[in-house]
Amino acid sequence: MRIIATFFAVLLFLLAPISAAESNDSNWTSDLTQQWDIDFEAVYVSTRPVIIDESIYVRTSSSTIDNGVPTIYSLDFSGNQQWEVTNPNSTKQDMSPILSVSAGNGECGNWPDMLLIGWSDGLFQALNPTNGNVIWQHSTEFLSWGITGKATLDGDSIIIPTRTGIDKLCLDGDLEFSQQLGLGWRNSPTALNGEYWIGDESGTLWHVSANQSVNSYSIGEGKIRHQPLIIDDDNLLIHLQLPSESELKSLDTTTGELTTVAKLGSSPAMPEIMNQYVITADASYVSLIDCLENCHMVNQVPFRSNGEVSIIFDDYIFLPHNSQEGGYGIFTISDEGELYQVDTLNFADDWYGTAGLAGHEVNGQKQILVVNDNANLKFLSTDYVLTLESSNADSDWATIFAMVLALIIISTTGIQLLRERFQSAFKFFILFITILVYFSLGDIISAWADLVEDSDNSDPDDAWSENWPDKWLGTQVVIFEFKDGLIEAGGYVGHEDVLELTKYATSEQGIDLEISDTSFGKYVVSIDGKSGDGWEYYVNGQAGTISAEYQSIDSNAVVVWKQL
């Protein structure tokens, strides 16, 4: 009887989440459950995490190096770290949001998938989303601080809010122009019809035209700490921060006419557009502005928020409550066109926060990432069960077969141990270990080589040639030194090992590449049909000591193949 009762209790327990999910589909926020959290310790996080494909990216910030080094982290959906990039020089509040750019090409060049990161020491980096390697980087002016605002994409260019103005770069990293304007903080440029608008700390809105001529508009005696919002082709909306209040103003860019839309509370958040509406917040209220025709206030809901406004899953507005009580307010707009609060999210470690949230929906399951000034990143989802590595693209039948085989072998080991057949158990165990090592050998060899090699002696600059085009700078370059000639190729990005890069370069150059398998890994037999006495590779001037398939390379590596 007890067994039957237990069985039904377990069954009920297992079925409970399913029935809850079915019954509460319209009120999904109450179904959110925390899957994991990560404490980044003494640093804080001031900008929203980013989800791209199967990866999560989050940046930490620090005002003193004793608290921790500002870092960009890449995580998987199980919370495992994939890579990190640090910048110990950047200790002036890193709050420039992470931007993601897909690979593409334009009139000014071509570029791979990138993460664009602005640092408070003025450095702007394009990182490889897969491994964090630097694809290119650009230094901007540092006067007490450097970049604190969000960079803006404009076609094949990126507009960076520097400390003193804007820099326009092609997405391949080439500088198009640099324009000195006013001192900015957490400001961000707006691209409108090929022209740029950006506010500064003295309440001036700067206008940089396509021919780089500059004019300015005084919005008021305050600070502009957000990206001007485009209401239509002619009108921008600016939330001006004043000492004890703020003003929402509309600027007609054709006439220069400035209109006050609303007087609002102090310390405004960064407003966001949601269809015909603008959502803005301050120390007292969240406000809904309707801009279908002339912008006007619709209604306000009491709530204190001073940072990023997040609009996720189309209809939901998430705001961090910037107080000691912390938490998040969830709002939406009713059918009648009014703003109202749907729910709040609270956690045991709530604290001040200004960072927005990231939202992601997979097969109807809503997933969100929240983080506050305590630098505690939390992953929540509706009725979500972690399926570790379930979508791993590397999985193939051979791997599945090997895993099943390994499972059978280790199970047999256990059975033989229980039967006290120790010798037989050992046989199966050692076979299991051998299979395990066999399948991880590539990673083991790469990791071992990285560990024992003196990377300080390996500098791409040592191998760089002045004859190569500048556009190869910061990219991967391959040189084939034949006995009777030379082929140089560069501008490659995103290749993780010597062989992968070599295969790509030879394919692109129309060169034959013959590779053989050895028990030590892949061996390049001939390049362009020439084998000679063999081929030797060098990475940044250092001779390769392991198979090219195991030799990992940086994003700016110079690989030289020499025919012997």
Partner: protein, 218 residues
């Protein structure tokens, strides 16, 4: 280095290769020219062992540094003695390298496995006609590192001391895999292989007894 020297060292020209093959073959046959190795059946069995293990090495060559020859050399050295062990090691190396690739490394591999066979002969691996598995595991691990070190010496003269050390250090994961493969091989096939050779020995002893009886009887 890996690329320029194949896996173990520079490729030889045809004359140098031929000279090395002759020297190695001469060594193998000298080792085989012992009084108890004159029967055709014994020679056939021995040749079968050589070709069997050579084939196993060739078939396992896609697996990273899994070397069935090492454990075979230990057991043959222990069962048949150092001379036949060395002959076995040299011939297996030569035959398998005809397929896998010949070069100066063939000499070093032959020396390496001959050393392993001699160690097997001197290590009391067989006590009361029984293979000592624990000892075989230990020797399998030690022989992996020893053999790989000897084989690595083939690059000397083409690299400086620092590069050679880097080469050795980078090779440690491969050494570990070799050692692991040896233990696996010993665990799964050690006793079986030892029994096969014991039978081969027993046949020899029976034949010798018959021959002795015939001589005494006449």
């Amino acid at each position: 280095m890996f690329q320029s020297y194949g896996v173990h060292g520079p490729v030889l020209g045809p004359v140098a290769g031929l000279a090395i093959d002759i020297v190695l073959l001469g060594l193998a046959f000298w080792m085989l020219a012992s009084p108890d190795m004159k029967k055709v059946s014994n020679i056939l069995t021995f040749v079968t062992l050589i070709f069997g293990i050579s084939l196993a090495r060739i078939l396992m060559s896609p697996l990273p540094n899994i070397q069935p020859v090492t454990v075979a050399c230990l057991i043959i050295g222990a069962q048949l003695g150092a001379r036949r062990g060395v002959a076995f090691a040299v011939l297996v190396t030569m035959i398998s390298n005809f397929i896998l690739g010949d070069g100066i490394w063939t000499v070093y591999q032959a020396i390496g496995w001959s050393t392993v066979a001699i160690i097997g002969a001197q290590s009391k691996l067989i006590i009361d006609s029984k293979l000592q598995l624990g000892r075989l595991y230990f020797l399998g691990i030690a022989s992996a590192f020893l053999f790989d070190f000897i084989a690595s010496l083939s690059v000397i003269g083409t690299v400086n001391a620092g590069e050679f050390m880097t080469y050795l250090i980078n090779g440690i994961p491969y050494d570990v895999v070799h050692a692991l493969g040896n233990v696996t091989m010993a665990a799964w096939f050690g006793i079986w292989f030892s029994d096969v050779i014991t039978q081969f020995q027993s046949m020899e002893e029976i034949e010798q007894t018959v021959v002795d009886g015939y001589v005494i009887g006449s």
